[in-house]
Amino acid sequence: MIAALISAAGLAEATYLTVISLTGETAVCGGSASCFEVLGSKYAKIFGIPVAGLGAIAYFSAFTCATFAAFGYRRARLLLALTIGAMFLVTLWLLFVQAFLLHAFCRYCLFSAAMIFLLAGIVISQPASD
């Protein structure tokens, strides 16, 4: 259930970032300079789709799996582990981009990374056999 709550928080944050990307706010200065550097960079979109939007889909998938897992659906646990695993790898890539390619960190992205690490910790500490 905790995994579902964390995923819901991640979904809210990713939805917010998707909206500010679609409205063009990341193309101008108004917030933190580091966030502009990251969210306005070429790495923030894949084929014109905001990475935050893909993140929102991923968080929603994680939320769905976690909810069903909490209600005893066995396959949902496996799917949750796979989803979190994929999100974890993407997060590592995004942290690499911020640290070594952009030399700037966005606080929203760091918050999201922290939540995914938490989710990964929960999945690892609660194996499917429990």
Partner: protein, 223 residues
């Protein structure tokens, strides 16, 4: 009932996420700003004049509310200068200060540009501040760099040091910012072409030039 509960929870969360996102989008969707006729910039109507590059009677006006420490403003500075240069007789460029509070040295940089303006070197300082943005933005003593820039562009340094702290300069920056706020400016760069705001999503050199191209084509050449 318990069997359907997870479906219900997931459905409710999906509806909240989509509905909340749509509401947020509607609230944040940029509405193009316009400069009312009575507030269109002219040297004659504003005390102290405006920082204008190009002929005062140019048919196309590109007016920028900028912050010297804002990275996108810096990236657009040179392309905007090129546009004005290429359309020398048809485009006039106006710059107004809009230093954002989250940029540590933005206000002081605006004062430096205005102090240079008092010695008729506003645009030289404007260009230099943008060109060197990464340097002074990350320095621990931006003021020392501004003084060095003043020397580099040939200002009387002693006068510059007095002017940068003067009420005249501070009032000038405050007036620019007040004007921007009254028009609805919130972010930088906010750019108007012939008094209509450019969509922030198209604020890149290619699309900005295309917008100016279209504006120039829509006007008759000055007789």
């Amino acid at each position: 009932m318990k069997r359907y509960l997870p479906f219900l929870i997931v459905g409710v969360v999906a509806a909240v996420a989509i509905g909340g996102g749509a509401a947020l989008y509607r609230a944040k969707r940029p509405r193009p700003l316009t400069i009312p006729k009575e507030r269109i910039a002219s040297s004659a109507t504003e005390s102290g004049g405006v920082h204008m590059l190009g002929p005062a009677d140019a048919p196309v006006t590109l007016e920028e509310y900028g912050d010297f420490q804002c990275p996108p403003c810096g990236k657009l500075s040179e392309p905007i200068n090129e546009i004005q240069h290429d359309y020398n007789r048809q485009v006039r460029l106006i710059f107004r200060n809009f230093p954002l509070v989250n940029h540590q040295y933005a206000r002081e940089a605006a004062y430096a540009a205005e102090a240079a303006g008092l010695q008729d070197r506003f645009w030289q300082m404007h260009d230099l501040l943008y060109k060197e943005q990464a340097v002074w933005s990350n320095s621990t003593d931006a003021r020392a760099l501004f003084n060095a820039y003043a020397g580099y562009i040939g200002l009387n340094i002693e006068r510059f040091k007095i002017d940068i702290d003067s009420d005249k300069v501070k009032e000038r920056v405050a007036a620019d910012q007040k004007q921007g706020v009254s028009l609805g400016v919130k972010n930088t760069p906010t750019i108007f072409v012939n008094n209509k705001e450019i969509d922030p999503k198209t604020l890149n050199p290619t699309e900005l030039r295309a917008t100016v191209d279209a504006a120039v084509k829509n006007t008759r050449p000055p007789s």
